[in-house]
Amino acid sequence: MSRIVIVGGSLGGLRAAEALLAKGWEGGIVVISAERHPPYTRPPLSKGLLAAAPDIAAVELRRRPETDAVDWRFGVSAVHADLEARRLTLSDRSVIAYDGIVAATGVRPRRLPERVTRNGFTVRTLDDCTALRPSLSQGTRLAIVGAGFIGCEIAATASALGCGVDVIALDRAPMVMPLGEVVGAAVQRRHEARGVKFHLGRSVRTVDSSASGHILSLDDGSRVECDVFVEAIGSQPCVEWLEGNGLDLTDGVECDNSMRMGGRSGAVAVGDVARFPNPLFDDVPRRVEHWQMATETAARAAATLLADLSGTPAETKPFRPLPWFWSDQFETKLQSFGSPALGERAEVLEGDLAGEAAIGYHRGKQLVGVVLLGMPKAAPRLRREILDSLSLEPA
């Protein structure tokens, strides 16, 4: 029987399996998952789940009944794929021969250098969340290195639990890459109003750890004392197992618009690990670490893979998904549509930054992204405006 192997058993891997089955794949499917848990949803790990008690039952993804036939292999990871020979070597030294392959290995947290410290927590997996949770209680002094979305969500969650929170980051404003400085600063003020302290433009030089806690020495000579600290300084795509195949792995695996890795037949990638061009914006391949994009790329990748394996032409319609993500920080519900990071200028379209607001991001005449602070009612209309603008206005 022919076989598709999916490397990665999180959202992207699950959605790829579901899409393959929904599109009529009748061969076998094997899913290789480095984690010991069934597929679960990660966004709550830095939000509600961290505030409550971490529990797989609260985050496990519902799986369509058809996926019962999938051969799930948990607690084992891919060591090397030979795309030419179509053979995958696993960490238990077994080798799987396959016909088609889906890369869904996602990302792992970037870490502070080991010479600086090995004592920080990260929040990427359920086990990470379970390990950190007991340390957070009323009066805990928590330091967070990094002011991206994960860092800011953990700051808000821990602050609401009664922790004293310091955030240290190189950036000028929290979430500056995806939101820009003006909106980042507006969200920063909301955090500061709840007692979160920011140390921006600063990096951690050394960490002195003892039984009484940690002292983080920053590059301006200041010190942050804490009981526990979290490293939230971004992520690294898990691509080592794809080395030796002549693929471009500089930032995730480069894919074509059909999600084929390096344009190879029978080999596709989905989710956080895939760097692909989105003609909605331009022809530059980019990774998109959004929850929703795992599902969208999985659907496209599954269609491509089935076409390749059956020797029929792949879908010719361009794959142009509109990125979307959300974040909850204190009472602020933030949503982002499109790619605000591609904007050259940001302007408040509606509302005001101290309350509810819609912020538009323009590249030339194009509206490339919208961020909503609250204002859920405006979402369908502004989403439509982005799509119209990107179709009508030249780049």
Binding site: T41, P43, Q292, W326, P376
Partner: protein, 62 residues
């Protein structure tokens, strides 16, 4: 087909509205409203709405 949404879980993010606009909508208060019964011809869109929901609030129950 019969659709059920757990409104205690729903965060009104509206992803289902984009996936299946004939079944799901946001009302004037930006809160979800939906048709509990839909024709089988909408199954594809409704399944897309189920997978698009970031909080798994939607179920096809019959």
């Amino acid at each position: 087909m019969i659709i059920s949404v757990d409104l205690d879980v729903c965060q009104n993010y509206g992803q289902c509205v984009f996936a299946a606009p004939e079944v799901f909508d946001l009302d004037d208060n930006a809160e979800l409203v939906y048709q509990a019964e839909a024709p089988d011809s909408s199954r594809g869109e409704i399944e897309a709405a189920v997978t698009a929901c970031p909080v798994q609030a939607i179920r096809i129950v019959g």
